[in-house]
C-alpha cells in the first residue's frame, strides 16, 4: 500500500498505518449497535405484544385509604374521603359518572365529585362507613418474644382473606409478581419484572440478606426452590401467601397485626347505555384475562354468574332443539352469539334453531353474561339492565402492561437472549468470562484455546508433511502425478468437512475415545490442510526457471542436486502461501471436529455449549478468540517463513 507518511519517521509512519485500520474497526464495532437493534427490536416487539408476557392486575372496588375520624357515624354532604388505588382513581377523576360508591355489595345513591384526588360527597351516606373485622393472629414467624416484629399473619376466618387490611389507620396495598423463570429444583437465580420486597418460595417467606441476594430485578436465592414451587416477589405492602389458611405476608415487619375491615368503597361502573335495550357493556381496564376466577360483575346488589350451561342433547348436526338448565341466557354457537328470533326460537329452557348447528359445534348458554371480546373488554348481558339499575365491577383481572417495559427498546434491553449483543456488553463479559474457571479446570477458556491451537498446529504439521511428501512424489514420479493430481485438484470442490461425522465414527470403531482426544482434530485438520499444501508445493516445484534447469544440466548435476539447489528454493514461497491457506482451513476442521465429537476440552465445544446455554455475549467472545487464533496461526506461519527462508523477502 502506498504510504504518504513513509518518510516522516517510524512512529508517525506506524500511526499512519494503524489509524485507518483502527478507524474502520471502530466503525465496524459501532455498526454492531444498529444491527443489534435491527435484529433484536422485532423480537422485542413480538415479546411485548404477547399477552403471556404481561403483568396481570386484579382491580377491585377501592376501599377507603384512610380511616375517617368517626367511621361509625356516616358522612354528611361535603365530606372529603380518600380511596386506595389513587393512580387509577386519578385516571378516572375526570369522569365521576364512571364510578359508583358501594357499601356491603350494593351501590349507594349518593352523588359525588372529585377535587384534587379526593372524593367530595354531594349527598349524605348513612350508617357506618367502616366495620372492623377481627384482628389478625400473629405475627406467626417471630413468636419468641411477645410484641416482636414479624411478617406473617393469619385471618381468624380464611373466608375474609380478600378483605382490605389496615395497619395503624392506613390501607395496605396488595401486590405480588411471579418470577420469569420456573423453579426446576436447581436454579437459584430468578428475575422479577418489578418489586423490591421479600421473596415468596411456595408458602415460605424469604428475606433479603438472609435468604437471597438481590441485584436489581435479579434475585439469587441461597437455596434452590423445590421443583415447580411458585417463586413470587412482593411488590406492595402485603400478599396473600395461602388463601386456604388465610395467611398473609407483610413486606415490612410489624409487631402489631393488621386489621381487616369492610365498608365504603369506590367501584367501577361498566360503560354502556342503561336503557332497557342495550346489552353490551365495556369494562374500563383491558384486555381482560379470560377464565378469570376473580371476576365479579354486579347488577345492583346481585352478583352475575359467569358460568356457562351445556345443552342436554348432543350436537350431532341434525338435532335442532336443545334443552338447557335455565330459561334465559345468551346462546352461543362456537363462541359466536346466536340471535333470538333469527337464529333460534326460545320456549322456556328449550331452544329450537332455524338450522341445526354443525356436528360437534360448541353450544353454550350463559345465564347472566358472556365476555364476548376479551381484548376490548366487552361483555354481553343476557337481559338488558333497566334504567336506574347500575352495572358495576366488584373485581376483575386484566393485563396491565408488558412486564419487560413500556417500549420495545426497554423490552429489547431486558431480553434474556439477544440475537446479537451490543459490543459493550461483550466487553463487560470479557473479564468475568475469561476468569470464570481456574486454569486447571477444563472449562477455562484460555486452556480450551490452547488445546484447540495445539490440535490445529499438530494438524498443520502433519498436513504439511504429507502435502510436501506427496508433492515431491508427484514431481518425481510422473505417472503418479498424471493419475492422481487431477483428482486431488477436483477434490478441492468436495466438502471434505462433510466426512467429519464418518471419520469420527470410524475412529470410535478403531478404539479412539473421540470425546477426549486430539486425534480427531489433528486428523481432520491435517486432511483439510494437506490439499492446498500439495497443490501449492507442486506448483512451486514446477515453477522453476527452465534456464536454471538447463544450466544445472550443463553442470551435469544429479537429480537430487537439482532438487535441493533449484526446485526446493523455488517452492518455498508457494509452500508457505498454501500453508497459510491451510492454517485457516485446519482451524475450521479442528473446530468442527471438536464440535462433532463433543470434545469438552476444545474451543468448538465451548462455542456450541454457550450457544445452547443462550449466552450470546459469551459466544461472541469465543468467536473473537477463534478469530484471533486464526490470525495468530497465519502470523505464526509467516514467522516460520521468515525464520526458515530468510532470503524470501518481498
Amino acid at each position: 500500500m502506498a504510504l504518504g507518511a513513509a518518510d516522516a519517521g517510524g512512529a508517525r509512519a506506524r500511526l499512519g498505518r494503524a489509524l485507518p485500520v483502527l478507524t474502520v474497526l471502530a466503525l465496524g464495532v459501532a455498526l454492531m449497535y444498529p444491527v443489534a437493534l435491527w435484529l433484536g427490536l422485532p423480537l422485542a416487539r413480538k415479546r411485548m405484544e404477547n399477552l403471556a408476557n404481561w403483568l396481570v392486575t386484579t382491580t377491585a372496588a377501592h376501599p377507603l385509604a384512610a380511616v375517617p375520624d368517626d367511621p361509625a357515624a356516616g358522612a354528611a354532604p361535603g365530606a372529603r374521603l380518600t380511596f386506595g388505588g389513587a393512580a387509577e382513581l386519578e385516571a378516572a377523576a375526570g369522569a365521576p359518572e364512571r364510578l359508583v360508591l358501594v357499601k356491603d355489595g350494593a351501590p349507594l345513591a349518593a352523588p359525588f365529585g372529585f377535587d384534587g384526588g379526593e372524593l367530595v360527597l354531594e349527598g349524605a351516606v348513612a350508617g357506618p362507613l367502616l366495620t372492623w373485622g377481627a384482628e389478625l393472629a400473629g405475627p406467626l414467624d417471630e413468636g419468641l418474644a411477645p410484641g416482636a416484629a414479624g411478617h406473617l399473619f393469619r385471618f381468624a376466618d380464611p373466608a375474609e382473606a380478600g378483605r382490605p387490611l389496615y395497619l395503624g389507620g392506613r390501607l395496605l396495598e396488595a401486590g405480588v409478581v411471579d418470577a420469569a423463570e420456573r423453579a426446576d429444583g436447581v436454579t437459584v437465580a430468578f428475575t422479577f419484572p418489578l418489586g423490591e420486597g421479600p421473596v415468596l418460595v411456595g408458602e415460605r417467606l424469604v428475606l433479603e440478606g438472609a435468604g437471597f441476594e438481590a441485584d436489581g430485578q435479579r434475585v439469587t436465592l441461597a437455596a434452590p426452590p423445590p421443583f415447580n414451587a411458585p417463586v413470587r416477589r412482593l411488590t406492595a405492602d402485603y400478599a396473600v401467601v395461602d388463601a386456604a389458611s388465610g395467611t398473609v405476608a407483610l413486606a415490612q415487619p410489624s409487631p402489631v397485626p393488621p386489621r381487616a375491615a369492610s365498608g365504603l368503597a369506590l367501584a367501577e361502573l361498566l360503560v354502556g347505555a342503561v336503557d332497557g335495550v342495550n346489552r353490551t357493556f365495556e369494562l374500563q381496564h383491558v384486555p381482560l384475562v379470560e377464565n378469570d376466577p376473580a371476576r365479579r360483575l354486579m347488577l345492583d346488589d346481585r352478583e352475575l354468574s359467569s358460568a356457562a350451561e351445556r345443552p342436554r342433547e348432543r350436537v350431532d348436526g341434525a338435532t335442532r332443539t336443545f334443552t338447557f338448565a335455565g330459561a334465559r341466557g345468551v346462546v352461543t354457537v362456537d363462541g359466536r352469539e346466536a340471535v333470538e328470533g333469527v337464529d333460534y326460537e326460545r320456549d322456556g329452557a328449550q331452544v329450537t334453531f332455524a338450522r341445526p348447528p354443525t356436528r360437534n359445534a360448541q353450544l353454550r348458554q350463559y345465564p347472566d353474561y358472556l365476555v364476548s371480546d376479551p381484548a376490548a373488554g366487552v361483555v354481553t348481558l343476557a337481559v338488558a339492565p333497566q334504567p336506574g339499575q347500575r352495572l358495576w365491577a366488584a373485581s376483575y383481572t386484566y393485563y396491565d402492561r408488558p412486564a419487560c417495559g413500556a417500549t420495545a427498546l426497554d423490552c429489547f434491553l431486558s431480553m434474556p437472549q439477544h440475537p446479537m449483543p451490543f459490543p459493550h456488553w461483550i466487553a463487560q463479559r470479557l473479564g468475568p468470562f475469561l476468569t470464570a474457571y481456574p486454569l486447571a479446570d477444563a472449562r477455562n477458556v484460555v486452556r480450551a484455546t490452547l488445546y484447540t491451537a495445539g490440535g490445529t498446529l499438530l494438524a498443520l504439521a502433519v498436513g504439511a508433511l504429507l502435502g510436501v511428501l506427496l508433492a515431491v512424489v508427484f514431481v518425481a514420479v510422473r505417472p503418479a502425478e498424471r493419475a492422481l493430481l487431477p483428482w486431488v485438484i477436483a477434490s478441492q470442490t468436495v466438502p471434505i468437512i462433510a466426512l467429519v461425522p464418518v471419520l469420527l465414527l470410524l475412529l470410535g470403531n478403531v478404539g479412539v475415545t473421540v470425546q477426549a482426544s486430539l486425534v480427531p482434530a489433528t486428523l481432520i485438520g491435517a486432511y483439510i490442510a494437506f490439499f492446498p499444501v500439495t497443490v501449492g508445493t507442486v506448483t512451486g516445484l514446477r515453477s522453476v526457471d527452465p534456464l536454471a534447469l538447463d544450466l544445472m544440466k550443463s553442470y551435469a548435476a544429479s537429480p537430487v542436486e537439482v532438487f535441493w539447489k533449484v526446485r526446493f528454493p523455488a517452492a518455498v514461497p508457494f509452500f508457505f502461501t498454501s500453508l497459510k491457506l491451510g492454517a485457516a482451513a485446519a482451524l475450521v476442521g479442528a473446530l468442527v471436529a471438536e464440535t462433532e465429537s463433543n470434545n469438552r476440552f476444545g474451543l468448538g465445544y465451548a462455542i456450541v455449549g454457550q450457544v445452547q446455554a443462550g449466552n450470546v455475549a459469551d459466544v461472541w467472545i469465543l468467536l473473537l478468540i477463534s478469530a484471533a487464533l486464526g490470525i495468530g496461526l497465519v502470523a505464526l506461519v509467516g514467522l516460520a517463513q521468515r525464520l526458515i527462508a530468510p532470503w524470501e523477502r518481498r
Binding site: P20, V24, T493, A498, L504, A584, L591, V592, I607, V611
Partner: protein, 387 residues
Amino acid sequence: MIGAQERAPARPGLLRLRPFWPAALPALVALAGLLGPFGAGGEGLTGALAAPLAALLALALLPALHGGAWVVPAATPFALAAAFLALLAQRALPSVAGWGYWAVLGGALLAAVAATARVSVIDLQGHDPAWQHRLQRALPAAAVAFLLLLAWEGLVVGSRVPKGIFPRVSDIGAALVSSWSVLMADAYLTFVREVAFGLGVGLLFGFLVGTAVAFTPFLQRGFLPLATAFGAVPIVGLAPVLGRALGVDWQSKAAVVVIVAFFPVVLNTVQGLTNVEPLKLELLRSYAASPLQAFFRLRLPNALPYLFTALKVAVVVGVVSVIVAEFLIPGPPNGLGQRISLSAHRGAFDVVFAAILVSSLISMGIYAVVSLLERLLTGWHPSNRGS
C-alpha cells in the same frame, strides 16, 4: 522407478515379445489365484464364472507380455473387468474371501496400475499423433477412478465389513437411487436457497464495497488489512450466532455464505480495479475520458478476471461453509449438511456418502459453469489467451 524415459521402438515385430514385467507378473499372480479358494471355507469358483475370468486375465496378460509401449495399456480395461468379475463372484459367496480372491483382485488391480503407468512415462514429442497425447492425459486419471472404486468395493466385499462401519460403493449407489428425491430436495435447499442466494448477495455487496474501497485511499489503508486478516478467521464459527440472529431456517446459512464470499470478492475487486496499467489510464486521459468512462471501459473489464477468481474461491469455500453451518445450526432436518449429520449419527453411511457425492458433483458443476462463464467473458484477457 517404473520406467526410464525411452522412445518406443520404431516398429517392433508383432510377435517379438519384450514382456513388461511390472504388469505381466501381477497378471500371472491373478491367474494363479484362480486356482485358490475364493471363500474362507475353501469354496472355489464355479465354472460359469471361472472361464470368462480366466479369459479376461489372459487378455490382460497378453499385451503385458507383448510389451509394446502403446500395446501394454490395452491390458488396463481387461484387468479392471477381471477385478470386477472376481468381485461379483466373491459377493455371491456366503463368507469372507480366501487367498484366491485376494490374489485375483490384487493381481488384476496391480496389473491395471502398471499398465496405465506404462503409457504415462512415454516421452511424447510435439510431432507425435494427437491421440497419443490425449490418451496419455486422459487414461491414467480415468483408470485411477475405476481402480479406486474397485479397490474400495473389493476390500469391503472381500472382508465383509458391516454396512454400519463402512459402506460399499454399491450400497452408496443404491442409497443414491432409493433416496434420490430426498437428496434432490436437500440439494435444492442447500444449493439454490442457501449457496446461490448467498453467493449472489455476497458478490453484489462485495463488489459494491470493493468499488468504494478502491476509490477511497483512506478505506484502502483501513479496510484492506482487516479484510486480509479476515481470511484467517474461521467464519463458519459465526454460524451459531447467525442462527440465533436470523433463525434456524435457510436464511442464517445463506448469511454464512454471504460473509464467506464477501471478503475474497472485496479483495479481488480492489485489486482488479486498481491494478490497471498506468499507460492505459494516461491514454484515456489524453482522450479526455471521464472517470466514469475510465471505470466502465478500462477498470471494470480489467477487474473481471479477478472477480472470477474470487467467485471460484467463494464457490468452493461457500459449499464447505454451508455444510458446516448446517452441522452447527440444527434447524429443520433438510439440507445436505443436515442429511449428512443426521445419517451419520444413525449409522447410515451409505446415505452420508451419497449426499457427499451429490454435493461434490453439484459444486463441481457450479465451478465448471463459473469457469465456462469466465472463459466466455474474459477470453480476451492475456491470462486466458495462451491456453
